[in-house]
């Protein structure tokens, strides 16, 4: 009840997270929309112009500027005006006409390494496409070399929509924020303000007291999740292939873990400021290592070991498996089991540490 008395908190609890879900889902993407290109065609022949035409006509490339001056292109890269420069040196047409390979320089702004890799790959595929169209006729006369027919298919997310991947993770994030922060802060606030003394005098037992504090947040957390899921389905069209009650079952346990952590932290500190900082600190580390943004498999061994202790990582994995692939209980036994264990341990710890007298 007390929560609702703080009027300002209400919009924060409900509106903010949803707003963030929206923003996050749209902002977070490794995909590239377009490449700003500087075309430096020094050869300037019929064939080189035909080649660059492929880039001009591609909706993906935005020819910001072109010319025959390499240093101008480098300057534009430095200023951040273009992402990539393609340089065609003189002799391009000549080499190709003689049946020899010709080189093309592709200069990428690699400050953002993943974007640079993607840009490079896109340009590569356009060049491959061009090559194939030129080479294929030759095979009829010369005979094709041994080749493999390479096919690929993408399951569960054929359009490679990054949002589909991120939204379950973001939902986890939201639920976590509610659990850890609010619960922890709440108790500390009482400590600060001194209303704790009043409650300590009442005949409530430790456990009843803690339960009373945690339950509202637990409920709010589940509500948030429900809202979030609705949003995800309706606005983002994220598939929910799996069993929804299963999701809520796991979420309930997860919330116990998370509010438990929040509570535990609050037993260690005396001010709201400290509680917030410590929670923030731990949260950031957990989030970074959770596989939300970057894959856990690519992390060094020590980081993978730490993952075991990271509830966020487990819940994210479960959410992705259940929502996107329709996994059932048997598939998620391992992470689920870990969460259960975690919940028991952390809550016991928190209860033990919490003394009725401060």
């Amino acid at each position: 009840m007390q929560i609702f008395r703080n009027r300002m908190m209400l919009p924060i609890i409900f509106v903010m997270p949803l707003a963030q879900l929206l923003i996050l889902a749209y902002a977070v993407t490794y995909e590239i929309k377009h490449i700003d290109l500087y075309l430096c065609d020094i050869d300037n022949t019929v064939i080189s112009r035909e080649f660059t035409g492929h880039f001009k006509h591609s909706p993906f490339y935005n020819i910001k500027d072109q010319g025959r001056n390499i240093s101008k292109g480098m300057d534009e890269l430095r200023q951040g005006k273009v992402h990539q420069m393609i340089v065609i040196l003189p002799g391009f047409e000549k080499a190709l006409e003689q049946g020899q390979p010709a080189k093309v320089q592709v200069v990428n702004d690699a400050i953002n390494s993943s974007a640079a890799a993607l840009m490079n790959a896109y340009t590569f595929s356009i060049i491959q496409h061009y090559n194939r169209s030129k080479i294929e006729p030759l095979f009829i006369t010369r005979g094709a070399p041994a080749q493999v027919n390479l096919e690929y298919s993408y399951w569960f997310n054929p359009e490679l929509n990054y949002k589909t991947f991120m939204v379950p993770g973001i939902l986890v994030l939201l639920v976590t924020l509610i659990g850890m922060f609010l619960a922890g802060m709440n108790v500390v606030r009482e400590k600060e303000i001194g209303t704790i003394e009043q409650i300590n005098v009442t005949p409530l037992s430790k456990i009843q007291f803690i339960a009373g504090k945690l339950i509202p947040f637990w409920i709010i957390g589940l509500l948030e999740l429900a809202f979030g899921l609705g949003f995800a389905r309706i606005i983002f069209n994220i598939p929910i292939l799996g069993n929804i009650p299963l999701i809520f079952l796991v979420a309930s346990i997860y919330l116990l873990v998370v509010t438990g952590i929040g509570l535990f932290i609050s037993t260690l500190v005396n001010t709201q400021q400290q509680s917030m900082f410590i929670s923030w600190f731990i949260l950031v580390i957990f989030i970074l290592l959770s596989g939300l943004f970057t894959p856990i498999e690519s992390m060094p061994q020590w980081a993978k070991v730490l993952t075991f202790f990271n509830p966020i990582a487990h819940f994210i994995e479960i959410m992705r498996l259940v929502m996107l692939k329709g996994a059932g209980l048997k598939h998620i036994l391992q992470p689920f089991g870990i969460l259960l264990l975690y919940a028991v341990v952390i809550l016991s710890l928190a209860i033990k540490k919490y003394r009725k007298t401060t």
Binding site: Y26, Q105, N108, A116, Y152, F156, L324
Partner: protein
């Protein structure tokens, strides 16, 4: 006045826990970003379905697993089981060879190999397919050593400013920014709000100190702390991760101080509009932290975001500062390249200071 500043300093240092976090956090973050966070692929679990089991398919598998990108996982042999396998979450891709692969290749036919990727993580899936295709194609091309030269266009790629494509280069500027925002804005806002809340603000106002002296006194320790923190991060990145420091160090430090002042004025502004600590904290956090991380171009490039969000990010001070840091550190550019951003930062600072002074006066009256 001096005694006031010293008192504020002691106040902070006495709070051990906060100190640990203030200094520990950036170090941990740089550490994590430097070593653990990477968008690259390493040791991805994949399975192979190989009915042919001949020289060619085995050679291809050898190459795949020697690359460092992939590790082999056991799998059931029927294709129907693939969906189930993906559901367990361990296997990310399955490579399916046709039967009689080597023979068909030798006869000049085109045997097929299928790459089935779990695209619930689209980025990884794309990279896995790319890498695997590259390896397989390279191998089959190497089987034909006697092909005469073809008039192919060959691509030579250069990666500017970051030749080994280390993602830490991109993150360090962002970490510095976040940290400065955090310490400066949040802590000042909370500290001032706390005084308001506990009523000690009135006491201060009655003292012979003028209002602006009070504010400066409160703010000084945090300026120093933030600055030291920023320097620590820079030192760590330079020596531990080899993040380049191409440009002018003095210029960088000056811009850093500018940003610190900006963040502080923002913090003060927030404290003038909040009535208690909790509000100040919530405001700082939601209004500052999360958007900063997401919309400032720290991890995710701004230009790939929808229009609306791009406009929003214009309002974020960190966005501009990140551009400046990257220019100086990674590209070695001089002031000429980012005078616009610098002006914007100065303008924002002025706005926040004005706003704070106005609000402050209103409160007093």
């Amino acid at each position: 006045m001096k005694r006031f500043v010293i008192k504020e300093f002691l106040h902070i240092f006495r709070d051990i826990r906060t100190m640990v976090i203030l200094f520990g956090m950036p170090v941990v973050q740089v550490f994590l970003f430097g070593f653990a966070i990477t968008t690259d692929i390493k040791d991805a679990w994949i399975s192979v379905v190989d009915p042919s089991h001949d020289q060619v398919t085995l050679a291809i598998q050898d190459k795949l697993f020697a690359s460092g990108y992939f590790r082999e996982a056991e799998m059931s042999s029927s294709p129907a089981g693939i969906e189930e396998q993906f559901r367990y979450g361990k296997i990310k891709m399955v490579v399916v060879f046709e039967s009689g692969f080597g023979k068909k290749l030798g006869r000049g036919e085109q045997p097929s190999v299928q790459l089935i990727a779990d695209a619930s993580d689209p980025n990884t899936a794309r990279l896995l397919v790319n890498y695997a295709s590259g390896i397989i194609n390279d191998y089959t091309t190497s089987l034909n050593p006697n092909t005469p030269a073809l008039p192919l266009v060959l691509q030579e790629s250069r990666m500017l400013y970051n030749p080994s494509l280390k993602s830490v280069f991109m993150f360090v500027p962002g970490i510095i920014t976040i940290l400065l925002m955090l310490v400066s804005a949040m802590m000042t806002s909370i500290s001032i709000a706390r005084e308001k809340e506990t009523g000690t603000m009135e006491v201060l106002l009655v003292s012979p100190l003028k209002p602006h002296q009070i504010i400066i006194g409160k703010v000084m320790p945090y300026v120093l702390l933030s600055f030291i923190n920023a320097v620590i991060i820079l030192i760590m990145s330079y020596f531990v991760f080899n993040v380049p420091m191409q440009g002018n160090l003095i210029l960088l430090l000056v811009e850093t101080i500018l940003f610190i002042i900006l963040a502080l004025s923002l913090g003060i502004f927030i404290s003038t509009v909040s009535n208690n600590q909790q509000t100040a904290m919530m405001l700082s956090m939601f209004a500052l932290m999360l958007p900063t991380i997401l919309l400032s171009g720290f991890i995710f490039p701004i230009e790939n975001m929808p229009e609306v969000l791009q406009w929003l990010s214009v309002l974020m001070p960190p966005r501009w500062f990140i551009v400046i840091i990257k220019s100086i550190m990674l590209k070695g550019s001089g002031l000429f390249y980012f005078w616009k951003e610098t002006l914007i930062l100065m303008g924002m600072t002025a706005v926040f200071i004005m706003g704070s002074i106005l609000k402050f006066k209103v409160r007093l009256a």
